[in-house]
Amino acid sequence: MAAQHGLEAHSHGNVPIQTRSERPRSTSVSDFPEISNRQEIWRYVPLDKLRGLDKEVMGELSESEVTAELASGTSMRWVDSTDPLVGSAGLPEERVAAAAWTNASKTLVIEVEAESETTDASFVKIAANTAEANALHVVVSVGNHAKATIALDHLGQGVLGENVEIVLGDGAQLNFVTLQEWESGSTHVSTQFSKLGRDSSLKHVVVTMGGDLVRVVPAVSLSSAGAEVNMYGVYLAGSGNYFEHRPYVDHIAENCVSNVAYKGALQGAGAHTVWVGDVLIRESAVGTSTYELNRNLLLTDGARADSVPNLEIETGKIEGAGHASASGRFDDEQLFYLMSRGIDEDQAKKLVVRGFLSEVIQKIGIESIEQRLISAIEAELEKAGA
């Protein structure tokens, strides 16, 4: 197809080194080895940019760095991390997450009342302003049959080890967006565990636009029948950005649906993105339907996108499972077509990049964020004079 001109499609994913379910889980740092690039999960990460997140001890993000605009039915408070709410969605699978877990004595709880419904979005802003490594623990809890939209916006300059737990009650519907708009000098390692109640539905959106090292690992456990998760990601990496996204869907219960789609654009020497998509369909997950996709558009030489889909299937009784992954150069034919209609090169490139990402941007469903993202993309393309 002309649209995929120049793309290299992978026909099959890599075989995982170790099955995902066998990874150790613990909140204790000492249960994990020192971080090195020899470990698969840290393989690509520029370790010199961890900036203290790999240490056993780190500080704690102060409460004043978190502000919020909340929709009706949604509330926010700080609790001690001994609260039973903490730890209900998942446990760390690596060292930074474990360190962030143990160093956060307080937990930010964002709660949506059961059966409350609103189309307004709640915005929680995390504006860091320190070069010191800090921990943050967030629990998002959505009551039974509630319907809500929550956006977690990370900005400023910071070094943040973060765990986010998302717990959906039965029949709940959550549109959750995590934005990483860090300034340079920032490092952010975020693990986001989601646990979905029966017939609940989660839309999990990751938008990464800035930061020297940003690694987001959204892990969704589908342990109740009939749950559905849609995971979307958009990222735009420039020189000096390293962005890693590792979505993981664990199909445990029957008749669950997962759909993962991440798209990224890269420009500038040294821009590097990594996408590792893991889907595990356990023997119990009869009637599963899943699809995962990652596409990257390389706008200039010297940028690098790694893309690895892993699909592990332990039962033959599924509805469907598939994946696609491709990274390709900017399509000169598209550019030529637009320019032959009088559109100058800069604008033609913007059109193509916006078009490429729009499939995912349109899924966000929060107008103000979509607009902001489009403006940010245009500004970024202008900056490089691409």
Binding site: M1, A2, A3, E333, F336, S340, R341, L351, G355, S358
Partner: protein, 252 residues
């Protein structure tokens, strides 16, 4: 009055085996209001000629000139050529995911006229042009060329021709893949642009079928990278009956 002059044009492409010469000295002059048909066997270089005029980066001009009213077209970028009044209806228009036809057309119109068209007028023009080409109005919400049938792609090219109002248009096999009804509709579009804007046309085709609807003033036989013979409309009839054997043998 606009004149496009192609003089002694030599063009090569880079291949894995090195540079390959395709055009070997093409001479053609097209003026406003004239309709030229170019016919020739597969691989003779017709699309190469079209792309070279439009400025596709794949083709390297090694000798010769292209002038538009005396201005050096070869010095212009692709978009500058379009803004100077050249248009190419492509043989294989490319898909552009995520870019709607409506956004694309408005952006192109704005780029060509230097200012955004007045919304009310633009919407009217678009609706009329689409109606004339028997295109559904929801077509504008689709992404450029994505999932278009062969016929829809060609109509979309002619829609642009009518809305963007170039001075000289090259139509690269706009007739291929069209059924008779679509061929008529598309031909009417070209004839409208010709009658209304005094468009000069270079029509590349394999068949005389389209020449029943679009009457050429000149017919050029294109063989092995150059014009082998020129004549009036009657030459097309002869080609249809006799084929290109006469020329291809001579070219060897």
């Amino acid at each position: 009055m606009t004149t496009l002059e192609i003089k002694n044009l030599h063009v090569s492409v880079e291949t894995d085996q090195g540079s390959k010469q395709i055009l070997r000295g093409v001479d053609l002059t097209i003026k406003s209001g004239e309709i030229h048909a170019v016919m020739g066997p597969n691989g003779s270089g017709k699309s190469t000629l079209a792309y070279s005029v439009a400025g596709h980066p794949k083709y390297e001009v090694t000798d010769g000139q292209i002038l538009l009213d005396g201005e050096d077209v070869l010095e212009m970028s692709v978009d500058e050529r379009a803004r100077a009044g050249l248009f190419l209806a492509m043989q294989y228009p490319v898909e552009i995911p995520g870019v709607s036809v409506s956004n694309f057309l408005r952006t192109a119109k704005t780029a060509l006229s230097g200012e955004a068209p007045k919304l009310r007028e633009w919407v009217g023009d678009l609706r009329d042009a689409m109606g004339n080409l028997r295109m559904d109005s929801d077509f504008t919400e689709r992404n450029v060329n994505e999932g278009f049938s062969g016929g829809e792609k060609k109509r979309h090219e002619i829609l642009q021709l009518e809305l963007l109002k170039p001075k000289i248009a090259i139509l690269d096999e706009t007739d291929s893949g069209l059924d008779v009804d679509a061929l008529k509709v598309v031909s009417e579009g070209v004839n409208r642009a010709h009658a209304d804007n005094g468009l000069g046309v270079l029509l590349i085709t394999h068949y005389t079928r389209i020449l029943r609807y679009i009457k050429p003033d000149f017919v050029h036989v294109f063989v092995a990278g150059k014009v082998a013979e020129q004549g009036g409309a009657e030459l097309a009839e002869r080609l249809e009956n006799e084929g290109y054997d006469r020329y291809t043998k001579a070219a060897v």
